[in-house]
Amino acid sequence: MSEPVLSISGLSKTYASGTVALKPTDLEIARGEIFALLGPNGAGKTTLISMLCGLVTPSGGSASAMGHDIIRDYRAARREIGLVPQEMSIDIFERVIDTVNFSRTLFGKPKDPARIEQLLRDLSLWDKRNEKLKELSGGMKRRVMIAKALSHDPEILFLDEPTAGVDVELRRDMWDMVRRLRESGVTIILTTHYIEEAEEMADRVGVITGGDLILVEEKKALMRKLGKKELTLVLAEPLSAVPPELAEWKVTLEDDGHELHYVFDATAERTGVPSLMRKISDLGIAFKDLSTKQSSLEDIFVQLVHERRAA
C-alpha cells in the first residue's frame, strides 16, 4: 500500500459513563479507496469517526490524516477531512449557498465562487442555491450536508450512515454520487449497517461489532474467503421428502419440493459437489436446471459475528 491517507494506531474510547465504545484499533486507509465500516447499531462506528474528526476525545492511541497527527497537528489534519454526520444537522433558516460558503471559510479557505458553483452543480443543487434549507426535501438536505463537507476540498470524506432511513431510490442516487466523488479523487470512509451497501460500494470492508474491529479485508477477498456457495437443483418431478441417501450432505427441499438446495464452502478442499451429483444420478433424480450462488455479505457477517461469539 502506498502512503496511507489515514493511519490509526491503538485508538480507543471509553465514555465517561464507562461504556467501552471502541477497543484499541489499528487501521490504515489507502488513497482513493472506498472503505466501508460495517457493523450493527452501537458497534462503535460513529465513535471511531467522531474521534478522527475532533468531536470526541480519544481515550488512547493516536491517528493521523495525510501524515498530520489529529491532536498535535489538528489544524492541518482537519483541513484534510470532511464529515457528513449521521444526524441531519443544518441551519434551516440559511440559504444553500450561504451555508456552503460558511463551511468553506470556517475551514480557513478563501471564498471561491467558481469552485462552489461546480460543487453545487455536481450535487444537483445549483438550481436550489438561493432556497432556504427548510424548503428542501430530506434527500436534498443530505446533499447540502455533503456539499458542506466537501466545500473545503478535503482529501478524506467521512459519510456516517449516508443512507440510513433513506428510501431505495435515493439510496441508489447516493451510491452513484459516492462513486462519482471517488472518481474525483476523494478517499471515502462510510459507515453502514446495511450489508448490501458495503457489498455494493466498498473496495474494502471493516467489520466492527461491540467496539471491536474484528476483520478488515478486500471486499472480494472477503467474499471469496468466507463465501459460502449455494447449489440449487430445479427438479423435474417434485420430491415429498429428502431421500435418506442424501442426508450426509444436509440438503434441503424448497419451493414445495421443486428445488433441492445444498450449501457448501467454495474454498474447501472437498466441496462435496461431485459426490452429491453422483449420488443424485445413482438415485435417478432428474433435474431441469442447476445454478450456484455466492453467499451475500449478510451471510458472511452473520457467520463472523457468530464465530466471534462462540470463541
Binding site: A16, T57, R75, D98, T105, F107, G108, K109, K148
Partner: protein, 255 residues
C-alpha cells in the same frame, strides 16, 4: 490564526441578528422611550435625590439604562449563539473545523458583543431625543462599554454551554442580572440609601459596573473609576478562566 474561520462564525452570527433586526432594535427604542416618559418626565421632574452632576434626572438614568440592556443583550446573544448549534447539532461543524477554542470564542463573543454594544448605543441615541446627555469621557465610555460587553458575552457563552434547555438560558438573566442591576443603582445613587442597605449594596458587583460607566458620563459616581475598572477586569479574568476550563475538559461540548 484562522481569521477566515473566525470571520465565518462572526458573519453567521451577525446574519442571525440581521434576520431579527427590526425587533432587535425597535424593542429597545420603545422600552427606552417608555422609561423616559415615566421616569424622565413624570417622576423625574419631582426627583430630589442626588444626580451626581448630571443635567437632569433623565440624563442621570441614561448610563443605567444602557447598562441594563448591555448586560441582558450580552448574556442573551452569546448564550443563544452557542446553545443553538448544540441544540440543533450543527456544532459538529465548528468542532471539526481547524479552529482553536480561542478562535471559536472570538467569533461568537465578538458578534454577541457587537450586537449588545449596538443596542446600547441605539439607546443612547434614543435618549438623546428626550434629554441632553453630555459625555465627559467618550473614549473611556466606549472602552468600558466594550470591556463589559466582552465580559458578559463570555459569561453568556458559559451559560449557553452549561444550559440543558432554552428555559435555563433565561434563568440567569431574569433571576440574577435584572434584579442586581436594578438594585445596583441603575436608576438612583446608592450613596443615598440608608444603612444597612448601603453597605449590603456594595457587595453587589453590578454597582461597580453601573457606577464606573456613569463616571465616564458625568465625571463623578458612588465609587472610584479605578475600583470599577479593577472589578470589571476581575470578572473578565474569571470568565476567561471558566471558558478555558470548558474547552480543556470538553465540558458539554465533547464526549
Amino acid at each position: 490564526m484562522n481569521w477566515r474561520g473566525i470571520g465565518s462564525i462572526y458573519r453567521f452570527e451577525m446574519h442571525r441578528f440581521a434576520r431579527t433586526l427590526w425587533t432587535g432594535l425597535v424593542v429597545p427604542v420603545i422600552t427606552t422611550s417608555l422609561y423616559f416618559i415615566v421616569f424622565g418626565s413624570a417622576i423625574g421632574r419631582n426627583f430630589s435625590g442626588d444626580i451626581q452632576g448630571a443635567a437632569s434626572y433623565g440624563a442621570f438614568i441614561v448610563p443605567g439604562l444602557m447598562m441594563l440592556s448591555l448586560l441582558m443583550e450580552s448574556i442573551f446573544n452569546a448564550s443563544f449563539g452557542i446553545h443553538m448549534p448544540r441544540f440543533t447539532g450543527t456544532i459538529y461543524e465548528i468542532l471539526s473545523a481547524p479552529l482553536s477554542p480561542t478562535e471559536t470564542v472570538i467569533g461568537y463573543v465578538g458578534a454577541a458583543a457587537t450586537k449588545a454594544m449596538t443596542v446600547a448605543l441605539v439607546i443612547l441615541a434614543t435618549a438623546h431625543i428626550f434629554v441632553e446627555v453630555q459625555i465627559a469621557h467618550p473614549l473611556l465610555m466606549l472602552l468600558f462599554l466594550a470591556l463589559i460587553a466582552i465580559t458578559f458575552c463570555l459569561f453568556g457563552f458559559i451559560i449557553g454551554v452549561w444550559a440543558k434547555g432554552f428555559e435555563q438560558l433565561q434563568i440567569i438573566p431574569m433571576l440574577v442580572v435584572t434584579p442586581l442591576t436594578f438594585l445596583g443603582g441603575a436608576f438612583y445613587s446608592v450613596a443615598a440609601l440608608d444603612e444597612p442597605w448601603r453597605t449590603i449594596t456594595f457587595f453587589n458587583p453590578f454597582v461597580y459596573l453601573i457606577n464606573g460607566f456613569r463616571w465616564t458620563f458625568f465625571g463623578t459616581s458612588d465609587v472610584s473609576f479605578g475600583i470599577s475598572l479593577a472589578i470589571t477586569g476581575g470578572l473578565l479574568v474569571v470568565c476567561i478562566a471558566l471558558v478555558g476550563l470548558i474547552f480543556r475538559t470538553g465540558y458539554r461540548l465533547k464526549a
